[in-house]
């Protein structure tokens, strides 16, 4: 017997609905942004890695040349 799409039978267990908390949402979003910011900071540190640290390369247009 097929059930209509979009329904979950009561017999199928699922985790009980938990108390919604916007604070936790904010914490996890902030954690996400902080982690990526940390990765960005690592990149900044890597730029300065010596003793033969080199600056950023000049942007050059290849004019559609082979991308190698």
């Amino acid at each position: 017997m097929s059930r209509a799409l979009g329904t979950r039978p009561a017999s199928v267990g699922a985790a009980p609905r938990q108390q919604e908390s916007p604070v936790l949402d904010l914490i996890y979003i902030a954690l996400t942004l902080a982690l990526f910011a940390l990765v960005g900071l690592v990149a900044k540190g890597v730029e300065k890695l010596g003793p033969h640290a080199r600056g950023s390369a000049h942007r050059e247009s290849t004019g559609g040349a082979e991308r190698l």
Binding site: M1, S2, R3, A4, L5, G6, T7, R8, P9, S11, V12, G13, A14, A15, R17, Q18, E20, S21, L24, D25, I27, Y28, I29, L31, T32, L33, L35, F36, L38, V39, G40, V42, A43, V46, E47, L49, G50, P51, H52, A53, R54, S56, A57, H58, R59, E60, S61, T62, G63, G64, A65, E66, R67, L68
Partner: protein, 560 residues
């Protein structure tokens, strides 16, 4: 084992090797063509216009990295929001919003190509989240990995350009020209093999004994194709590829193994083509194949021995394995999925014998470089190649050069930092789980179902899987807790993107150099000796890093 069992094991392996050998050149050449072509497809031009990208603009490594990070952080936030809004989304099968910690873990997991799942998909996620969130990430996270690998290859191949191509172009091409077409073909193959594809939701059926059972359906074949091709591994069902709707027969089992190995195996060919020396591709492939064949052989042998009280009483180590796959069909899949970054499972690694269960863990600890994830396997092995050249140079007194690029202090520092990132995350995460009293209490009372040495192995496996972006699990661990959802999420983000920073920085550094002609003083990197050196470096680095913790976990369990 009798002769028939061995033959049944040999036949799939021989078929697998033959198929991979046949696709190595054409697929590798095609991948190289994708990323060196100067022509854009109509759909690609439309996409570039839509997102405001000039496809001809070359990027420095910093700009390339910015693209990777911006694209990925948006992906995490979008998948997080989708899960939190699930209750009001259509086609959600009546399922509620996903809790915050689990949403974070899942969003991070799929964006980092890990696909660690702290939940039962069929009981937690409706079709909208599965398709619009997770399936999309299955494509784009794989494309990001390939793009980073291609950027590193361009670093080796370029001559003082200082640029690595364009991230957005590489991302779009990876999806439109490689992953999407192959996924369509693969999905049709899986459908023919009996994998289900529907939108029926849940179906109540009457069993043979007269009872009722609720069977989940879903668009499984289409998800399964990219799950394997993109070395993602996140199952549509909780049992993953052990579920008969995802992987019904030994034939589909072999087909799925081919799918998850196809692109990683072909990447060395693309590398060889792009640097203009196919022999370099064969050398990298040789190192990958050596490690893979030895690992899978040892793992299969250990499981076939059936050591341990329960397997010896039962007559074989079949606990946690599907009858239709047997021991060899399970260990072949288990080896392939952990040697790549796939993490799909067709057997429960937690139920393997102590030493047999160590092998999937060891595969991940090797850095998943044999052949590794799509893209990540190649760039991981190239980093090891840089270190091998450096070590070889020290041994014989030759200047360290690889593919005509000098490996100075900066390059070696970047490569060295790369191999430290994931071990640090693995060991720190495992240690913190037991060192902080409140966390330890939670982990021991809630997460670990097998206390003692095996419980420690379960936590070690979880952090090894997360930090290496594999996604497979020792199934006995309950990971849907605030600590593990958050800590594993952090390990996944840092384990994915910090190495990418170092790879792109190395690529940028190499791209600024001109190519030095090889001389008699140059270490040849296309010969068997170098393959041996590369394998040796990979094994020694892993052994030195992880032996102590393995001695506390699976080695202690297996040898006591």
């Amino acid at each position: 084992m009798d002769a028939a069992t061995i033959w049944l094991g040999v036949l799939p392996v021989a078929t697998l090797l033959l198929v991979l050998a046949l696709i190595y050149r054409p697929l590798g050449d095609y991948i190289a063509h994708i990323y060196t072509s100067t022509k854009d497809l109509v759909v690609e031009r439309g996409t570039y216009r839509l997102i405001g990208v000039d496809p001809r603009a070359e990027q420095t490594w910093q700009a390339y990295l910015r693209g990777v990070l911006v694209f990925s952080v948006i992906g995490v936030l979008f998948v997080y929001a989708l899960q939190r809004a699930q209750a009001v989304l259509p086609y959600s099968l009546g399922l509620p919003a996903v809790p915050e910690g689990l949403s974070f873990n899942t969003a991070v997991s799929f964006v980092t190509n890990t696909n660690w799942q702290s939940y039962s998909p069929e009981l937690t996620l409706g079709y909208t989240v599965q398709l619009a969130g997770l399936a999309v990430q299955n494509f784009v996270s794989a494309a990001v990995g390939i793009a980073v690998a291609v950027a590193l290859v361009r670093g080796f191949a370029s001559r003082r350009s200082g640029t690595l191509g364009n991230f957005w172009v590489d991302l779009v091409r990876g999806v439109t020209r490689l992953l999407l077409p192959l996924s369509i073909v693969a999905a049709i193959g899986l459908l023919i093999g009996g994998v289900v594809q529907n939108v029926n939701g849940f179906t109540e059926v009457t069993t043979l004994t007269g009872g009722t059972q609720v069977l989940p359906g879903g668009p499984v074949a289409s998800q399964e194709a990219i799950k394997e091709l993109g070395t993602n591994g996140g199952g549509f069902f909780n049992a993953n590829s052990a579920h008969p709707f995802e992987n019904p027969t030994p034939w589909t089992n072999l087909f799925e193994i081919v799918l998850l190995l196809a692109i990683p195996v072909a990447m060395p060919r693309a590398f060889g083509r792009m640097v203009g020396d196919n022999r370099q591709g064969y050398a990298i492939l040789g190192a990958m194949a050596t490690i893979a064949i030895v690992s899978i052989s040892v793992g299969s042998w250990l499981e076939s021995l059936g050591l341990g009280t329960a397997p010896e009483l039962a007559g074989s180590a079949m606990e946690g394995k599907e009858q239709r796959f047997g021991i060899l069909g399970s260990t072949l899949f288990g080896g392939a999925t952990t040697l790549t970054s796939t993490g799909a499972v067709n057997s429960m690694h937690d139920s393997y014998t102590a030493l047999g269960g160590m092998m999937p863990m060891l595969n991940m600890m090797l850095g998943e470089v044999a052949p590794g994830g799509v893209g990540s396997g190649l760039y991981g092995m190239l980093i090891l190649a840089v270190l091998a050249v450096f070590v070889g140079g020290l041994l014989v007194g030759r200047s360290p050069e690889y593919l005509g690029k000098k490996l100075g202090p900066r390059e070696i520092k970047l490569a060295s930092l790369y191999i430290l990132v994931t071990p640090t995350l693995v060991l720190l995460g495992t240690a913190l789980s037991f060192a902080i009293p409140a966390v330890r209490s939670d982990v021991e009372s809630v997460s670990i179902w097998n206390p003692g040495i095996h419980g420690m192995s379960e936590v070690l496996y979880a952090f090894t899987s997360a930090a290496n972006n594999n996604g497979s699990a020792f199934a006995g661990l309950t990971a849907n807790t605030p600590w593990l959802n958050t800590a594993l999420g952090v390990a996944m983000v840092l384990g994915r993107f910090v190495p990418i920073v170092l790879v792109l920085a190395l690529a940028g550094s190499l791209a600024r150099q001109s190519v030095t002609p090889s001389t008699v003083g140059t270490l040849p990197t296309h010969r068997p000796q170098f393959v041996g050196l590369l394998v040796g470096v990979a094994l020694i680095v892993t052994a030195l890093t992880y032996f102590p913790v393995l001695a506390l976990g699976p080695l202690a369990e297996g040898l006591v």
